[in-house]
Subunit: 70 residues, 2 copies
């Protein structure tokens, strides 16, 4: 980030993080919901861990955004 860039506030980060986070959650869901080519149990479990990680990130960001707005 160039030196002249103003220090960003959390709202900007929060907003920018939503796009990759939605991609993670969306593709994890697609992998889990694909009835035509269901994943083997072991791989399904890994995708479920990914989904859980994405949900945890979202919860952290939401809690933090709320704390910042107090």
């Amino acid at each position: 980030m160039p030196a002249e860039t103003p220090r960003p506030d959390f709202a900007v980060l929060n907003h920018e993080m939503r796009t990759p986070l939605n991609a993670i959650l969306g593709f994890a869901q697609m992998l889990l919901w694909d009835d035509e080519a269901p994943l083997p149990a072991k791989q399904r479990e890994m995708v479920e861990h990914i989904q859980k990680g994405g949900e945890d990130l979202l919860a952290l960001m939401d809690a933090w955004a709320e704390a910042q707005s107090r």
Copy 2:
């Protein structure tokens, strides 16, 4: 978050986000590297999107942590 909780700083959020983010990146890598049960091309592509999302999140957090420390 209870009302008496002090407003957290970004270092805390940054730290707390690493665990779920590492889970996302680690499991995506395991899915992509599993030579014994390689994913079909379509599903592999979805996991690559997940991996890309995780890397983007990490880059955003790093850039933000650096900007905060200036």
